[in-house]
Symmetry: C3
């Protein structure tokens, strides 16, 4: 450790444009800097540009959900602090709690979390003083996706009462399916399931309809994405066979009721879950769902921030 005299330091510091080592700083300059920081820490309104901070903690990749939150946050005037889970302290063995507490200390006003662990939030909610929005927990919940599905249906039909809704596809691995099934029933809809029976739990079998029955019955066909990346077991059928047996084919679409709609959370496996030509057909609300995603996330963000900060938004 090379020591410098106070004189050498003084000389250097005539132009102290950089911050490189502590050795470059003289005692007086250090105290001046600390005073400046102390004033910043005490001032009730020190920051010319201070806005509310959001942080999106995505421990699982999801461009779509993440960028939708980013758009929602910016539309509300929030400032988004970038967090890269890949290079994060979590890799140095830090707990999720310590990471979130750190973000709270740094000044985050709301955190959005996606994490592979189901109900990761149970260990956080009593100890964290800022709102958490669940962006997906393993195979558990994905409430903002559910809300955007609900908004899309409500915009179309004005109500959920008495609607026939078929959720079709990889129900076992789908967060969306589990959240939606429960909430749609509660809101008054009749919910059915379709797709490969190996992908259904026993308790769902009384709701089972074949795809050919489904298209004739449904007001809403909610197609799910096949989550290749979560399948430990191989698919029995190839993509073309799957499409024929369980997919929404062009032929099946023709049998759908007037005014019935098609939904899909995306990303889409074209010609597997749904025929390529149906993705943007008149019945499809797929890109409408994405638009709605931004609106429900804005609504949820302003909801939790209003509640915690006394109505500062809107």
């Amino acid at each position: 450790m090379m020591m410098q005299t106070e004189l050498e330091r003084k000389r250097k510091q005539l132009q102290p444009t950089h911050v490189l080592t502590m050795e470059d700083w003289g005692v007086t300059e250090i105290h001046n800097l600390l005073d400046r920081a102390e004033i910043l820490s005490r001032s009730s309104k020190p920051f010319p540009a201070q806005r509310l901070f959001a942080v999106n903690l995505f421990f699982e990749p999801s461009t779509r959900t993440k960028i939708s939150f980013e758009a929602a946050e910016r539309n509300l005037g929030l400032d988004v602090l970038p967090f890269e889970a890949d290079t994060s302290s979590v890799k140095k063995g830090e707990t999720l709690y310590d990471t979130v507490k750190t973000l709270e200390s740094i000044g985050a006003n709301v955190v959005v979390i996606r994490h592979s662990k189901e109900r990761y939030f149970d260990e956080l909610i009593d100890k964290i003083n800022i709102p958490i929005i669940n962006g997906g927990d393993g195979c558990g919940h994905h409430p903002t996706q559910s809300f955007l599905d609900l908004l899309t249906i409500k915009q179309e039909f004005g109500t959920f009462q008495g609607l026939n809704i078929v959720i079709a596809g990889d129900i076992f691995h789908s967060r969306v399916a589990r959240s939606n099934l429960e909430v749609l029933e509660r809101l008054g809809a009749h919910v059915f399931v379709s797709g490969p029976k190996e992908w259904m739990s026993k308790e769902l079998m009384h709701r089972y309809v074949s795809m050919d029955e489904a298209v004739e019955k449904a007001d809403v066909m909610m197609m799910l994405r096949i989550q290749h990346e979560r399948h430990a077991v191989k698919m029995v059928a190839g993509p073309a066979d799957y499409h024929e047996l369980y997919g929404l084919t062009a032929k099946r679409e023709k049998k759908m009721k007037q005014n019935s709609i098609i939904m899909h959370p995306a990303p889409i496996n074209r010609d597997v879950e749904i025929a390529d030509e149906l993705v943007e057909c008149a019945r499809s609300r797929i890109f409408k769902q994405m638009k709605n995603g931004v609106f429900v996330r804005m609504a949820l963000l302003s909801h939790v921030l209003d509640h915690n900060r006394g109505g500062i938004l809107q």
Copy 2:
């Protein structure tokens, strides 16, 4: 799936600061939230902070071009939505079209795309309703790089008419070279090529000059970067030999005409394409080119956004 009574939900919801699962939300609260989202979706001016959104889709790494676009976008007051191609849905098999359509749905007003596939944009332009700016397509085009080169030359000479311009180096793998050669001719310049003959196509050979001829003839020496990462075939010469045979050496620079300039798109392989000591010499416009990159990107962004939105910028 654990069910909760409406009463349990009500109790919990006295302090609903988090958004965790759908089960936590009562029927009334769900409808309230959907109404809030619906108002947001209908309002013509709902967002206190709404600005225009740009997204930079870089499927190939390029810090330099990307950060130049980021600076240009922010200088124009655009809001930049971060997109990480590495962790994106594209890895889940999503098509480029679906990705771009998603960004359009989420509210992007302009997308900048770099992609390894030549003319990737042919499949997009008739179906996407927001402007695309090509940030480089494989070994194809890189128009914003060409524009910054053009600006740098025009600033220097006021015209392109009659200028002798030598493009030297790895022309075969260079997007820059292909775009520049065509457009510089069209603007009235005489374009020559130099460098290893193995890296020239036959149709270019009538433009060939040796490096020693080049430096005596050129008003502009446009050096190209050796793209080691694209060379399937090994370089015949080592770096030092390459420098001596095909590089802009200190000795060759002395033979250049008065007022002639040196350009390079960077990143630079020092002492390979160009001598280390020439990178910031009086003739060099290399860092000027980088500055100009921000200005042409601002000009192009405001050009496409003006056109699509009726002159909202400037």
Copy 3:
């Protein structure tokens, strides 16, 4: 290279909403665009939204330090240009100097750099015209961490004169320890070290105290993180043994002096350096340190920017 006639170009350009190839641009349109860029480059105040740009160049991962800088920068109203070292030109062999010079050319007003090379900044400071803030150089320095430690101590005791400060743990690999030891002495404190003797250099041994002596003597216990990722040599003791021998256990905490405090730079290895239950105990200033990190970084950023730009902040 397909050539187009000027007429074909004109026809296409009736709706030139995209920027795809140079071939699409006619000669007149090119000159118009260049004029637009030239105006932008000359104008003294061309940009509606122009703010000051900060860039955080983190070649080593550090979510905590990076996000603290991000928050500080945004609190001051700086605009942060994202830089991903992983996908950067540095991987194409670019020198650190060329990368930083590029950022300067693009318009960065300050750069924060973390790099594995000790004193990486020596090759930069005379040649770069924007301030550099060192976010950590290998096992060398980490001045912003030192400043936040100093602020935390000064807030507590009002002075450094005569304080007993024990730095405990992995001193050999700790940037924090080396910077702090030197500067705390200079400010008037008595500094002691503790932890495994294999992790101390000989010149430090006259400061050595055991952990049991340390807790009775210290006004400040500065615990260090065991940097597993830097240890070439294996730890002799397992985590539980380490905790018992060298950690701040619940039992040891009870012997600490009244008003003495515990500090840790985080991320924390709970029950190794420090007992889980002590992380948020009454003596702990660990999350206070994180808060202070934002304030000292704001103070340092405004310090270097004031100096270079003539007091534009505050």
